[in-house]
Amino acid sequence: MAGLLELERVTAGYGGGDILHELDLSVEDGGITCIVGPNGAGKSTILRVVSGLLRPRLGAIRFRGASIVGLTPRAILQRGIVQVPQERSLFPTMTVWENVRMGAYTERDQRLIDRRLEEVCEAFTVVRERRDEPAASLSGGQQKIVEFARALMLDPALVILDEPSMGLDPKTRSTVFETIRAMNRAGRTILLVEQNARSGLGLASHGVVLESGRVRLEGDGPAVLNNPEISRLYLGATA
């Protein structure tokens, strides 16, 4: 499959020095790419350079073959890359319905917005069932799913999910991962950054293990998950 998003020899960091070192990464069109790695490996930095919040010092980033380096976050959003951040990002006193509508705030075509709202309601029943309730009244998992629904309002080609399972109980976590799988089955390309390597790689068509700003290992998600060294280092398996 062709790479929808390509990072080529990307070097990026903050004032204190580089975090990513000549990083190469390809996100397959139609797949789920999961990046795992310890704290400080550079997972969040990848998301920041892709969404335009951080400009890489060296290297190229291409989306559908065109460079997106130097574009504003808004321009990148309009090209079809949407990010669901790690922290809660809903507007708490606004209703579920209003929150989902906010996802297409920059869209002017009302008929298109209405159609997407319909599609989102079909895909995420919680949006229809709890539409008039304040977002703050939902559970953590439901809020995360409403965030996914909001992200789909712009009909993105690539959905970036930053630690979607963070702070969720095991049952809710499995619901959230099931929702991610359903989004992918519906044709969305997913780039997932996940601390929970077992769940993330178990879901992924492509797994990437990041260490000190470089790709240490990559391959099919299950293959990476079953790699003995990775199991020992990240999954707590005994040798």
Partner: protein, 326 residues
């Protein structure tokens, strides 16, 4: 249509009919005077809510627009030699536009701040308006006040009636504006600003432009109401129109009724203004009614921090959920 919705619509219709025929069924001046002030505060609180309730920016300086509106109409009427009667009402929209322009200027500066700083900056602007009215003696009459045309032809019970209908029209205008904004994309953006301004910016809400627009839109009816008030009382003094208590009353009514709701400011004004007038009549110049205001504010903050309307809505929703669950 659900029974609750039918009841709501019937109640709303009845309220509108009563408001329209009030001077006919209760024409005595004490009742119509009470109605003029109550409807005035419905308009003021509803207008304030467009800024304070929808964006979460608490302005304590909205009395400045009330004052600018009052002085604008007084000065225009006097300089244009407008005859007393219905003609000064035609200048009320001009007073609204002048207040709106002042709001653009104040908002452009004040909205560079947030939270408590914004509150303080708006109070400061209100007092600057008061000082201007006091010190530009040649223009405003200074501390001696400014007279308006006096419609002598409206004698007896009828005197209050045109003012009542003018205030009612402005209250309806404020309510219609608030209702339209609440249901618009612009309103959605304002609510997003209230919840989290940075997140609102991230999803594409032009926060600065929207805040200034809301501030200006909320100031225009306040200026128009101030103009009608000035004409009603026929004489205005700086300290009584650029009065912090007018600004605080708007805020208190909205907080009591329900911040960011359409019905909240109306309910707050209906509950507080008649009570405040009763206290003012009974205790006269002692301003003891301020103790009452302080007590109400304390009780609202302690027991109904979200106001009456959201609390009742929450109660009804909980009850519906209880009934729905097996």
């Amino acid at each position: 249509m659900s029974r609750l919705r039918v009841l709501k619509r019937v109640g709303l219709l009845a309220a509108i009919v009563i408001a329209l025929i009030l001077p006919l069924i209760a024409p005595d001046p004490s009742t119509t005077n009470l109605a003029v002030f109550t409807v005035m505060y419905i308009g003021l609180a509803t207008s304030w809510n467009i800024m304070g309730g929808y964006t979460g920016y608490i302005s304590l300086g909205h009395a400045a627009f009330f004052g600018f509106g009052a002085y604008s109409l007084g000065l225009l009427s006097n300089h244009l030699n407008v005859a007393p009667g219905y003609a000064p009402f035609l200048l009320v929209p001009v007073a609204g536009v002048i207040s709106g322009l002042v709001a653009v200027l104040i908002g452009w500066i004040a909205l560079r701040t947030r939270a408590a700083t914004f509150v303080i900056v708006t109070i400061a602007f209100m007092f600057m308006g008061q000082l201007l009215a006091e010190n530009l003696v040649k223009l405003t009459g200074g501390g001696a006040g400014l007279g308006f045309p006096y419609p002598q032809q409206w004698g007896g019970d009828f005197y209050n009636t045109p003012f009542y209908y003018a205030m009612l029209a402005l209250a309806f205008l404020a309510l219609a504006t608030s209702w339209t904004i609440r249901r618009s994309k612009f309103g959605l953006g304002l609510l997003a600003i209230r919840d989290d301004e940075d997140k609102a910016l991230a999803v594409g809400v032009p926060t600065r432009r929207f805040k200034l627009a809301a501030f200006t839109i909320s100031a225009i009816p306040v200026g128009m109401i101030g103009a009608v008030y000035g004409y009603y009382v026929t004489y205005v003094y700086p300290q009584f129109v650029f009065d912090p208590l007018i600004g605080i009353s708007m805020v208190l009514m909205v907080f009591l009724g329900g911040l960011g709701t359409l019905a909240g400011p109306v309910l707050g004004a209906l509950l507080l203004e008649p009570a405040q007038l009763q206290f003012a009549y009974r205790f006269g110049a002692s301003r003891l009614y301020l103790v009452f205001y302080a007590a109400v504010f304390l009780l609202v903050m302690l027991f109904l921090p979200r106001g009456v309307v959201p609390s009742v809505q929450e109660l009804l929703q909980r009850r519906r959920q209880e009934l729905a669950s097996p």
